[in-house]
Amino acid sequence: MIDQQVEALRDAARDGIDYDGLCVERTADGYRVGVDDSVEAIDGAALPAWVERHRQYVDNWWFFARVVDDERPFVVPFLRWLERAETTAVPARYRELRAGITRSWGQLRITVTCTDGHRRYAIVHTADVDRDTESLTSYDDPAAATDLARFDDADRYRPLKSAPTLRSGWAFPALSAAEAVEVIDRFYPVSIANWYAERAGDLDVRHFRETAARQSGIYRVVESIPAAGVRAITSACCSDEMCLKRRRWELDGETDLDVPAGDGRIPCREPCSLYLEAARTFAPMTNEAPPQLPDAVRTAIVDLCTELDEDGPRTNRVGAMDEPDNPYRIRFLRSWIAASTRREKGVDADSEQPDDDH
C-alpha cells in the first residue's frame, strides 16, 4: 500500500496537498514536505522514506482523498465527523482509532477503528452497546439494514424510519466506509445528506404552510388546518417520543409553532408523509376551536390519553390514524384537549375568543 500512497502523493503534489497538517508540494528539485508546520525540502528519491516516517498523516490523507471514492458531497464530511477529524489532530486521532471512536446517530452507535491503516466501521443499536457481539445477529450486507428497519421489536411495521422504535439485537461488526454510509442511509434515509446541508447552512427548510400548499388529492385538506390544529398535530407526531428528527420547520417563515423541536442530530426539513397523513385525518377535528371543557373533565381526558400513550401502541397499525387506539390519534387528542387550557391562559394566539372568556 505504501507504494500506492507514494505514487498518489507524487501525483497530487503537483497541485499541492494541505490536509489535516500534511503538506506536500512539488518543487523544481524535489518536494517541500511537512507535518504540522515543520517543513523541509527533500529530493524525489527520499519521498518513500519520508512517507514511512509520517505514515499516519499520509494514511489519513490517502483514506479521505483516495480510498473514499464518492462524488456525493456529504460522504467525506460525514466520515470525518464520525472520527472527530475536525477537532482531533492526526496523531491523537490515530491513537484513539486503535480502540475505536464512537458516535451516535438516531438509535445507532457507530464505532470507527483503524489498525494497520484499515478503517472498519461497526454499527449496533444504542440499546446493544453493552451486549456481547456474539449474542447479536451479525450482518455484512448493507441491504439487511432495510429489512431490520422495517419492523420494531414487537414486529409492528414502522412506517416512519426515524421513530425511536428501531429493533435491537443485530450488529454490522466490520463494514467499509462506503458500506457504513449505505447502512446508515438505509436505517435513516437521507439523514446524512440533510445533516450535511444543515451544517453547510443550506438546508432547504419547507414550513408547514408551504408544504401544505403543494398537496393535492386526499392531502389537499391539510391546507385549511388552523395554527392551533397544526400545533396539536405537531406535538402529537414530532416530539422525541415519536420521532428522533429535530424539526426545523415551523408554521410558516414568520410564525413559530411553540412546540419543542426535539434534540435529535438529524434535521427534519419539511412535514413528512406520515405527518401529512396524521394532518389529513385529524383536520376535521381542528376546524373548530378546541372544546371548552370543565377542568375536571379536561384533566381526566388528558390523563387518560397520557396513560394510553405511555402504555405504548395497542395496535399493530401505527400508521392507521383513523383507528380509535392509534398512538398518534391518542396523542393528538391529548394535545387538542389540553389546548383549551392554553387558550384560557392566553397562550393561544389564534383564539378567536377573548382570554377572559371565563
Partner: protein
C-alpha cells in the same frame, strides 16, 4: 456518475409495498457496476422530494414502479421532484417515451422513464408468473389466463395497460383464453368463471406489491379464501381449478424491466439475471 432511482408508492400500513421496490433496486444494484441504484417513495423515506440529494451528481434515471401512467407519475412525482405539477411542464420529450429535465438541485439531468407496468415486456413477466405459480414451463394449452387490474374511472389508462398486455399474450396463441377482469369496473373479478370456458385458469393480478387488494379482496372475490385467510394453490372455485399468482410486481423479472427502461434512456446498466 449515473444513478437510477426506482420510485414507488410506499405505504403507512403495508410493509410489502416498499419491500418489493427495495428488492428490485437491490437486485439491480448487484449488476449496476458504477451506477448508483436507490429507491424512493411517496409515502415512505426516502421521500421523492429528498431522494435526489442522496444520489451523485450526473445523469439520474428515474423509473416509476407503478402499473400505469396517471396521477402519481404525471403530477405527484414531478411536483415532488421540484418541477411543478403541470404535465409535461418543464419536461422535454426525447426519443420514444423518455422525457428529461434539469435536476432541480442543479446537479445534472433527470431522465424520467415510463412506469414499469406499461413496458411491453410486462407481457413476458405475466407469462413467467403463470409458469412459476403452476410450476409448468409450458403452461398454456387447455388453460385460461386472467389478468386482473384495479381499473378506475378516474384513470382509464390503468385499464388500457392491462388490456394491452392481455392482447399481446393473446396473439401468442399460448393460452386457451386470455381475459381481463377488474376490481372496480366490469368485467368484475367475481365473475371469473362466467368468462372462461376451460376448467383451469391462472389468475395474475397486475399489481406492484401484495397488499389488501391482492391478498384479501381478490381471493375473496374469486371465492378461494380459506378460513385462515390464505388460499390453496391451486384452489377450486365453481368447479374450476384456479391458480392464483399474487401481485405480479414481486416477480424478480421486474428488475430487468426497470433496468431496460433505464438502459433505453441511457443508463449504463447490464442485464439483470
Amino acid at each position: 456518475m449515473d444513478s437510477i432511482v426506482l420510485l414507488g408508492h410506499g405505504s403507512h400500513l403495508n410493509p410489502n409495498t416498499s419491500a418489493t421496490v427495495h428488492a428490485h433496486a437491490d437486485r439491480m444494484a448487484d449488476q449496476a457496476g458504477d451506477v448508483h441504484v436507490t429507491a424512493g417513495f411517496w409515502k415512505e423515506e426516502p421521500a421523492v422530494a429528498d431522494v435526489g440529494r442522496t444520489v451523485p451528481p450526473g445523469d439520474c434515471y428515474i423509473v416509476p414502479v407503478f402499473i400505469s401512467e396517471g396521477y402519481f407519475t404525471e403530477q405527484v412525482i414531478p411536483r415532488e421532484l421540484g418541477l411543478g405539477s403541470a404535465w409535461p411542464g418543464s419536461w422535454t420529450a426525447v426519443d420514444g417515451d423518455i422525457v428529461c429535465a434539469d435536476r432541480s438541485d442543479g446537479a445534472g439531468t433527470w431522465w424520467y422513464c415510463r412506469p414499469v407496468g406499461t413496458h411491453e415486456s410486462m407481457a413476458d413477466v405475466i407469462v413467467s408468473r403463470a409458469e412459476s405459480v403452476t410450476g409448468r414451463e409450458d403452461v398454456g394449452s387447455g388453460t385460461a389466463l386472467a389478468v386482473i387490474g384495479h381499473g378506475t374511472e378516474r384513470n382509464p389508462r390503468s385499464a388500457s395497460v392491462i388490456q394491452r398486455h392481455a392482447e399481446t399474450i393473446r396473439r401468442r396463441d399460448r393460452f386457451a383464453e386470455v381475459i381481463t377482469l377488474f376490481l372496480d369496473e366490469s368485467p368484475y373479478v367475481a365473475d371469473l368463471t362466467d368468462h372462461i370456458t376451460v376448467d383451469e385458469v391462472v389468475v395474475v393480478p397486475l399489481f406492484i406489491a401484495n397488499g389488501y387488494h391482492t391478498t384479501e379482496d381478490i381471493p375473496a372475490s374469486l371465492g378461494i379464501t380459506a378460513d385462515d385467510g390464505t388460499w390453496p394453490v391451486p384452489a377450486i372455485a365453481d368447479g374450476r381449478q384456479v391458480w392464483y399468482a399474487g401481485a405480479v410486481g414481486t416477480e424478480p423479472l421486474i428488475a430487468e424491466v426497470a433496468a431496460t427502461l433505464a438502459r433505453t434512456a441511457g443508463a449504463a446498466i447490464g442485464p439483470i439475471p
